[in-house]
Symmetry: C2
Subunit: 375 residues, 2 copies
């Protein structure tokens, strides 16, 4: 491994990964991924860290490479994903907007990619990450771990590059997009595309951004991430403070508390996320299907040679638990199914730290045993 | 009962119900409801029908008074709600657009109500229906039956006019809106209000209708009505015929089959429904809370003196079954809880005719016994 390419502990670097050719046949020349690395120790020394077992974390749709930030209870010194023990890598996804090449990145002609950015599949993202590891000189990953869109990449890792992955943990994900997911996701894409500020995807540099459309998408998306039990416990039918949604006429400035909450989610997203990336990554979720070109979904899962553990959340309506049960019946080298019990829905993998931590610890003990047998 | 006001069997009439004063204090002068009646027999005779026990059916959000149409397996001669045995009434809701007074109706000044139409609560709708029954000279209903928004009206009937209702069947509903429902419903309202053709609610007569916004609302709403299992069984990841959603670039005219299905749902709704009504009725669902002004939700339910049966669908994500279980624990005169088992989600009450029919027959047998004891 080329330890000189490792970002400083807790930091990030932009890594050149060469040209990426998508499944659809489009070349993204001189692509880059933004890689974060975590390897706490007395010295924080890259050469020592480069000898550790590597855990690759795959982030979810609007996540980023800074896994110690968004998964703070589970990634860090002494945490279940122990940054004193492993070299933990997490790269912003291809098509994203947190340092990796995406629609907002500059094309060779100096303008943003915009509508010229190709449609991506989950496989294209994994292809790019494999090129990243090749550029780094990494030959073997002890474990690849991810949830939601990250879980989709985990499954593709096990099928595209089984010889590089010793073990895998797929969280809150399915073998392919369900029609319901495609329905709700493609609706979100339409909200953005219907925003006049979208300008066909070429809004960069125009001074206008399709934030209204992305906010609408986010409101709906957030309600698919959060369990209705949790949302109701927090907000119920409470009016927003100082507002009265029970007035004589409906007025959009007289809101329930939950409306204000969703407004904040929409506001926060536009501060940190690009609508073009939102469309590309959401479209990639629609295209997720481990079975495509592999003789069908169950044949593909059955061919998997990487020991894979599966986790789900009991109240997840976006990736219902029966989808994880389906994986448990069909994965070729299945090593366990865990269920997080929580009112929070899909986001339980982020919120229920204690349960998620238990699962991670159990999984990594298994993975280490596997590593010893394999190596 | 003034049988001369009864519409012909299978037909409808517009009934003047006088002024309706809303909870918010707005007067809707000279309101009208469109009433449908069903009373098949050898003669189809109103005077004979007027002596029968009355079943009042309450329709759901985009439904209408023609219950024999949208509930055809369950309403009709020899059907569970037997139109040869009962006088079956079903009125289009106040605020609707199928003949009853709503935002698209003409105001006294000759222009549409539009933005002048008040916010409605579920109670306002029931208030209007009570005025309808008073206008008809009806003093007693053997059973009030409804699902979803209709179920919300059923619950309010039992609390507002308990002496007029012998029995009640509340289907796929809750004691109040949940925060998740308010979140998804208020998002739908925003899609419509954000459509430039909405024009603040005063688009009538302008030649422009906010159909794009209502279509977006419908796409999301439909996905909350349909279970993901059923949607996935029908569409999976199939591309729409002749289209390729896996192409090199995302294109909105290259759709998955489920997208085309949702497009059709959106198209169909704008043919038959008014966006102003959609906003008013959806807002009324947000305001649904049997506890408001009655000492809280459980106190209100506990005070109910009308024998009430409750039904839900196991895969309903909009009105999850735990909400019907909650009703079963708290209703003051609870007579049974039934569960429809189905992959279809909320719409199971429309689709699973056999199960729904069993429940209706069981309920009406109970209701008849209650009627005999009461009368």
């Amino acid at each position: 491994m080329r330890s000189e390419l490792l970002p400083p502990n807790g930091g990030s670097s932009i890594i050149e990964i060469g040209d990426v050719v998508t499944e659809g046949g489009v070349t993204i020349p001189a692509a880059r991924l933004c890689l974060h690395a975590f390897y706490d120790d007395a010295h924080g020394c890259p050469t020592e860290a480069a000898r550790r077992p590597i855990i690759l974390i795959e982030h979810a749709l609007t996540g980023d490479g800074n896994a110690m930030d968004w998964w703070s209870d589970n990634v860090g010194p002494g945490k279940p994903i122990d940054t004193e023990r492993y070299l933990v890598l997490c790269a912003n996804v291809l098509g994203g907007c947190q340092g990796s090449t995406g629609p907002a990145s500059l094309h060779a002609d100096g303008r943003a990619w915009g509508s010229r950015f190709p449609g991506l599949s989950i496989r294209d993202m994994v292809q790019a990450e494999n090129q990243l590891l090749e550029a780094m000189g990494v030959e073997k990953i002890a474990a690849v771990i991810g949830a939601s869109m990250g879980g989709a990449r985990v499954l593709e890792w096990t099928l595209m590059f089984p010889s590089k992955v010793t073990s895998a943990l797929a969280i809150a994900v399915s073998a392919r997009a369900s029609a319901w997911q495609i329905g709700i996701q493609s609706s979100q894409i339409r909200f953005i595309e219907a925003d006049p500020d979208w300008q066909g995807g070429d809004y960069y540099g125009t001074g206008r951004e399709p934030n209204e459309g992305m906010g609408q998408a986010r409101r709906i998306a957030h309600l698919t991430y959060r369990g209705e039990l949790e949302v109701d416990e927090r907000f119920g039918t409470d009016p927003q403070r100082g507002e009265n949604p029970y007035g004589p006429y409906r007025r959009s400035d007289q809101r329930f508390s939950v409306e204000s909450y969703l407004d904040r989610q929409a506001e926060k997203l536009k501060e940190r996320f690009d609508a073009g990336s939102y469309v590309v990554l959401t479209d990639a979720l629609n295209r997720h299907d481990v079975g495509r070109g592999r003789g069908g979904m169950n044949a593909a899962l059955g061919s998997s040679q990487v020991p894979t553990m599966v986790v789900g959340v009991d109240t997840d309506i976006l990736y219902p638990f029966h989808q994880q049960e389906h994986l448990s019946r069909n994965l070729g080298d299945f090593i366990g199914l865990s269920k997080i019990t929580s009112p929070t829905g899909h986001d339980g993998f982020l919120i229920e730290s204690r349960q998620m931590g238990q699962v991670l610890e159990k999984f990594l003990r298994k993975a280490e045993l596997l590593g010893e047998v394999v190596e």
